[in-house]
């Protein structure tokens, strides 16, 4: 509606109908193109599969995938290059609802969704489903409370809306700051993911991988802005979905004979639960757990007084080495003893760190099922058990729901998602587009829990209880890639692998799925290319959000309102480059606890934007002062709660005060406090200090109706 000129009234309905027909024709043309493209991708995969069969090396397959997909994204970027502001910021508002839904899907699904979710589900079972519910349920809030109204408002960014609705400098500035905070944290994580996947795919260094991926992001968003990003994201959705589905469907056929894993994995879950029960009572598993409990006890003793313990350990290692050398033992044994001596911690602080880490691991491994909860068990603890078990249950349930809440509200407040609904032609299309988005996102999120269960079934039935010499080939292969992803040790020396003797990192679930399913390497490369597509598409959207916040909101709206369109777009491009380089630089430092920061972005976005946006649309009396204070209070409380309670932030900020959890809520869900506070502050301040006359009432009135 926003782009339809005011002069266009029923008298000109002929041209309006013509436009509608054009729009429909464009949609149909695009669908044909999309179908051809999908066939092309499938053909490309089959071709590479044939080449692999004929002897093409893995390195070349990986390279071809990397270069092929990057060249594809670059081509779309170059074809969509533009210097027009509406094209650059909102793709000219001509994206059909269906395609915008697809683009939103890949904008939304980040490296964390693609690689991380199935891994989290594998490790935490039911409790991981909080991510599945939260990351889809948020779209109901987008659909019902935000998207149609923002589309009707029809500017370029979220700060635009807050700035116009509330007036004055503060709301706009706060919105810019919050948008940059949330998006930057998130984009660093994406670029980190890009680096890892590129390195895996081609064998180049992590840092080189980052800059290769960065090139892929830049050709796209730099040249064509939102227009290029949108169409690249559509292409990336197709690739990432094919990549995700192929191994899961194959695993499902292998295990159940049915190619629809989402429909049948319930039966596999039942078998997994039965196997888990057996493993809990299995005598050999108990033996392994006891061995780890002993190890934990030894470590605890060493940690009580690390200085003498370290000296004694060094003495023992030296004595052993001397003895071996004196007795002319085989060189291999001497080398091992030398290595053990060299591997000892250098000083007391590093000994303490190393042993604490080992202790944490040993404690996990002395618990049943390798520290994982039974897959189907809802929450921890037991509502009918002892008081301690009861309170554990209550706490676990409360935290599950709190996390779901934060993820849902955060989803509905992340600027890079909300601006996607500016790109469709009308309010009607915006509503439909959210529905398409949910469908496309749902396809991946109903598949991830299936993948987790199928892999668990495979591990429990084919790997656990197998002799070490006869383990499947993928176990050794992934151990070689990265021992932190997959490691096995025979701690009770019975020659058979027990569940607790295996350490699996979450990321390996998706990446190794093709190998676990027994598929050729080309599918592994495809999965890596899919992960790359997921990370790149999200990074594109985020970078664009940041550069729009800086160039449109800060520069154009606040510093130089006279700037010409071309100048604004040029500035946006330069800023995009700077932000991308800064993010790549930080990602190359391999920041710790990146996953926490990403989840934190949800709580930040929820507390900063959600109350101000919703009240701005639904409550005419909300004032600018109230919105500013509400955003500050919500964001401030969320940040405070995290800083005081999250271990990594505590150590970074040097906070020594004891952890003070409110009602036992984990810091990751700090938004449950920030969001209600934001609402309360906005309502109270608006009531205490009302604005008369309320300048923005007309704006609120306008956006409530799709047409004047």
């Amino acid at each position: 509606m926003g782009r339809v000129p005011r002069s266009m009234r029923p008298s000109q309905s002929a041209s309006a109908t013509q436009r509608a027909a054009e729009q429909e024709g464009l949609g149909r043309e695009l669908n044909v193109l999309l179908a051809w493209f999908t066939l092309g991708v499938v053909g490309f995969i089959v071709l590479l599969g044939l080449l692999e069969f004929m002897g093409l090396s893995r390195r070349w397959i990986g390279m071809t995938f990397l270069m092929g997909t990057l060249a594809l994204y670059a081509t779309i970027g170059i074809l969509s290059r533009t210097t027009d502001a509406a094209e650059y910021y909102v793709a000219g508002r001509r994206v059909p609802a269906f395609h915008n839904g697809m683009a939103t899907g890949s904008d939304w699904m980040s490296a964390a969704s693609f690689i991380g979710v199935a891994g989290t589900l594998y490790l935490t079972g039911y409790n991981g489903l909080a991510f599945i519910i939260g990351w889809t349920g948020g779209y109901c809030l987008v659909a019902l409370l935000l998207a149609p109204y923002l589309r009707r408002f029809g500017q370029f960014t979220i700060s635009d809306f807050l700035g116009e609705r509330y007036g004055g400098l503060m709301p706009r500035l706060l919105a810019i700051a919050a948008a940059i905070l949330c998006s930057f944290v998130y984009v660093v994580a994406q670029i980190y993911g890009v680096g890892i996947v590129t390195a895996r795919l081609t064998g180049v260094d992590f840092e080189v991988g980052i800059f290769l991926g960065l090139g892929g992001i830049l050709v796209c968003s730099f040249l064509g802005g939102m227009r290029a990003v949108t169409w690249t994201q559509v292409a990336q959705y197709v690739i990432l979905m094919i990549a995700y589905l192929v191994p899961v469907v194959w695993l499902s056929v292998k295990q159940t004979g049915v190619p629809v894993p989402q429909a049948v994995y319930g039966y596999q879950l039942e078998k997994v639960s039965a196997m888990e029960q057996r493993l809990i009572d299995d005598p050999r598993e108990i033996e392994v757990r006891q061995a780890y409990a002993q190890l934990a006890e030894q470590l605890r003793q060493k940690l009580r007084d690390p200085g003498p313990a370290l000296r004694q350990e060094r003495r023992q290692a030296e004595q052993r080495l001397a003895m071996l050398q004196a007795s002319l033992a085989p060189a291999l044994e001497i080398a091992a003893a030398e290595k053990a001596l060299a591997g000892l911690p250098r000083d007391v602080p590093s000994a303490r760190a190393q042993w604490s880490q080992a202790l944490a691991q040993a404690e996990v491994k002395s618990r049943p099922l390798n520290g994982m909860p039974p897959h189907a068990q809802q929450f921890a603890g037991d509502p009918n058990g002892s008081p301690a078990e009861r309170s554990e249950f209550e706490l676990s349930r409360l935290n599950f729901l709190a996390l779901v809440f934060c993820l849902m509200v955060g989803t509905a407040a992340l600027p890079h998602i909300l601006i996607r609904y500016y790109t469709v032609p009308s309010v009607t299309q915006a509503r439909r587009s959210v529905a398409w988005s949910v469908l496309f996102i749902l396809l991946l999120y109903v598949t991830a829990p299936a993948l987790a269960v199928l892999v668990k079934y495979e591990v429990l039935s084919m790997v656990v209880g197998t002799e070490f010499s006869r383990l499947p080939e993928w176990v050794a292969a992934w151990n070689r890639v990265d021992p932190s992803l997959l490691a096995v040790t025979d701690i009770n020396r019975d020659g058979i692998l027990q569940l607790n003797e295996m350490t699996m990192g979450g990321d390996v679930i998706v990446l190794a799925a093709p190998a676990i399913a027994g598929l050729p390497y080309v599918v592994s490369a495809l999965v890596a290319a899919g992960a790359l597509a997921a990370a790149l598409s999200t990074a594109d959207g985020l970078l664009l959000t940041i550069s729009s916040a800086l160039s449109h909101d800060l520069y154009y709206k606040m510093i130089d309102p006279e700037a010409s369109t071309a100048r604004r777009v040029t500035i946006a491009k330069v800023l995009l480059l700077i932000v991308a380089l800064a993010a790549a630089y930080i990602a190359a430092q391999r920041p710790a606890d990146i996953l926490f920061l990403v989840s934190a972005a949800f709580s930040f976005a929820a507390a900063a934007f959600f109350p101000a946006l919703v009240l701005g649309i639904f409550w005419k009396r909300a004032t600018g002062l109230a919105a500013s204070l509400g955003m500050l209070a919500g964001l401030g409380l969320t940040m405070y709660y995290m800083a005081v309670n999250q271990p990594w932030l505590r150590s970074v900020l040097g906070i020594v005060r004891p952890v003070d959890l409110w009602w036992g809520i984990q810091p990751i869900s700090a938004g449950v406090f920030g969001v209600p506070l934001g609402f309360a502050v906005i309502v109270l301040v608006s009531l205490i200090a009302p604005e008369r006359p309320n300048a923005s009432a007309a704006l609120v009135e306008r956006i409530r109706y799709p047409k004047d």
């Binding site: 782009r3 599945i132 519910i133 596999q268 879950l269 189907a376 599950f400 047409k707």
Partner: protein, 87 residues
């Protein structure tokens, strides 16, 4: 002018009602039902029901909510003369 004002009021009131009802459904499917997850443990095509609900059921309800919303709102737009000019 009077009727114009009336038309707007009715449209907004109905929009509000649709939004409220669907929000309640969202709350039940997104949060409410999972509170009782332990009690809804009966077998459902192999899954414990609440596991299925969290992994698929809630998601399907969410999809239903946004589709129904788009459909009802398009009808409301038409009935109250707020249908957009095509474009």
């Amino acid at each position: 002018m009077e009727s114009q004002q009336k038309r707007r009021e009715v449209y907004w009131e109905r929009t509000g009602r649709v939004t409220l009802v669907l929000m309640m459904l969202w709350f039940v499917a997104g949060l409410g039902i999972h509170f009782f997850a332990r009690d809804l443990n009966f077998r459902f095509f192999g899954w414990p029901f609440s596991f299925w609900m969290a992994a698929q059921g809630s998601l399907l309800v969410f999809l239903l909510i946004v589709v129904v919303y788009a459909w009802i709102m398009e009808r409301l737009d038409r009935e109250h003369g707020f249908e957009e000019d095509p474009g």
